[in-house]
Assembly symmetry: C2
Homo-oligomer: 338 residues x 2
């Protein structure tokens, strides 16, 4: 099969790789209908993460089950499935509590930017759609593998509840999905911090009631102004840098939570300010599997259309252009069709 | 009147100070029935905080109202009252949301270790008991001014709910009150981390079901063992040091919250570990006024007896011995009778 390999910063290639095979009786093999490039893939692409050996890329996917191991019960050949960006059993104490990131059998994937994928713990990890999806639903279903579930996680961790004001820091695909999540979870007012017209447009379609273009202290002042000096009831930090986290904490009203989902790079939490204002911080890797059934129902019924975050669709062979376009911020997020 | 002044590390004196007077129409003057020494007073006593000018000490009190300003409506001369360790209006958006630490009129006190105290924003700050308390209730009522409310805050910020396991890091008076709070809030299992027999005894009276004497990695391993490898559903960090915070975070199960109330000294939050395990951190200055009516009812009805944290009672003139006893850990907490 063909698959994407990153050789180093800026060096992404599509190459022949061996077809995956069933290795454990709980595995499934999925022929991928769609996959995509993640903002977190850019950390390596930009050389911000330490260089490693050439590595298969991609952790987001949806597709059709082509084979299952002999212990797989709930997933069948021919099912259209979505899985989160890591495998989990959906049965241990952590999975049952809604935090499969702590799953006792937790496993990472290799290389979902490819034609085929071996999914471990298939019964625990995969969720099948009620039937074969219309082509138009594929991008939205694909987002449930990571980006939409991650935006949702930010909103849940931030404690978004009906009523009140949510602020979203970050206008990448995750931030935009965070806007959609906050809106779906009932925030009266959803303020997107964004200075890019095309992203503002998606934010508004996702339910943003206000856009703040200012950043840093000016951005914080503007949030204060919009909230009658009170601050936000919930803040979603969807970037992962120190500046974004500081801005998020400063926007929060006393007692509010910052839900953070950006992989932290150089973030030092200002514990003194958190303490004096009772602003909490909670987040991490999205607990995708926990949200998948609910989010799938929302997509299937047409209540949400998170696939709008994909503003570039390429063949798998053109993956390198997807990375370039996202790196140069010409694209919000690139969908790849194997 | 007589009042306590700290001149520098280890140097606490009781001196004549001017009687406080009504300065604003919203003030009250309270003749203090009881006051006490706080663990946070020891930061200065031990020279860990930067030295400052001589300062009046104490922020915990209960007593009888002796005078009120002309705008005070809800509090009357003769009322027995408790107030939190800072003044707040109980009317602004932050107070109404339960976070008076953000009150738009927030004011600190000076010197509650004294005979008399001026309380600003008396209607917002003070809560009166239903009648004059029995002498036996005075210590417990006094704890509501800070230490019991702070332990309660830790439990609320940690998300303690009925069922499940709460771990309390810190066996000072706040930690012990955290044990009581977690138990009152319905945790099935409350694990107190303590290696002092007298504190373990109080912890058990407050509802601790288990005591863990080990610290650091060994303490964390013991918590894992006691929770079938899962970790705690809620963790109360009641110390304020980096070691205590790291221990608290390591004891938490994936997805759990650490409620922290120890004033942070040298704490660097391990954001990478928080992210990978989805462990959140939330806390700060207790929102005493928010909890006061409920906690007062619990004390008044005899359901809780947090006054057990006072194992030393002295006259105000002997305040220096109270500081010494706490500094040397001969006493958990010293009550002072003016």
């Amino acid at each position: 099969m063909r698959g994407v390999i990153m050789y180093g910063p800026g060096d992404v290639r599509v190459e022949d790789r061996p077809d995956p095979t069933i290795q454990q009786p709980t595995d499934a093999i999925v022929r991928l209908t769609a996959t995509c490039v993640c903002g977190s893939d850019l950390w390596g692409y930009r050389g911000i993460n330490d260089p490693t050996d050439p590595q298969p890329m991609g952790h987001e996917y949806c597709g059709v089950v082509e084979a299952v191991g002999e212990d797989v019960r709930d997933i069948s050949v021919g099912d259209f499935v979505v899985g989160g960006f890591y495998a989990s059993c959906n049965a241990c104490a952590h999975c049952r509590a809604g935090f499969p990131n702590g799953c006792v059998q937790h496993q990472w994937y290799d290389g979902c930017q490819a034609e085929l994928l071996r999914v471990p713990l298939a019964d625990g990890t995969l969720v099948a759609t009620p039937g074969q999806p219309d082509e138009a639903l594929v991008p939205s279903l694909l987002t449930l593998s990571d980006v939409m579930a991650t935006g949702w996680h930010a909103a849940v961790m931030a404690g978004v509840r009906p009523g009140g004001t949510a602020v979203v820091v970050g206008d990448g695909a995750v931030g935009l999905c965070g806007v959609l999540a906050a809106s779906q979870l009932g925030a009266d007012r959803v303020i997107a911090m964004s200075r890019h017209a095309s992203r503002q447009e998606v934010a508004r379609r996702f339910g943003a009631t206000d856009i703040v273009e200012e950043r840093g202290d000016e951005g914080v002042a503007r949030i204060r102004e919009l909230t009658a000096g009170v601050g936000a009831d919930a803040v979603l930090e969807c970037v992962g840098t120190g500046d974004a986290m500081n801005q998020a904490i400063a926007c929060a009203r006393p007692g509010a939570m910052v839900g953070f989902v950006g992989v932290p790079h150089g973030v030092e939490l200002p514990i003194g300010r958190m303490f004096s204002r009772n602003v909490g911080v909670r987040g991490g890797m999205a607990t995708v599997r926990t949200y998948l059934p609910d989010l799938m129902e929302r997509v299937w019924s047409g209540r949400i259309n998170p696939g709008l975050v994909f503003d570039l669709t390429l063949g798998l062979e053109d993956a390198a252009e997807g990375y370039r376009a996202m790196d140069e911020r010409r694209a919000i997020k690139a969908l790849l069709r194997p």
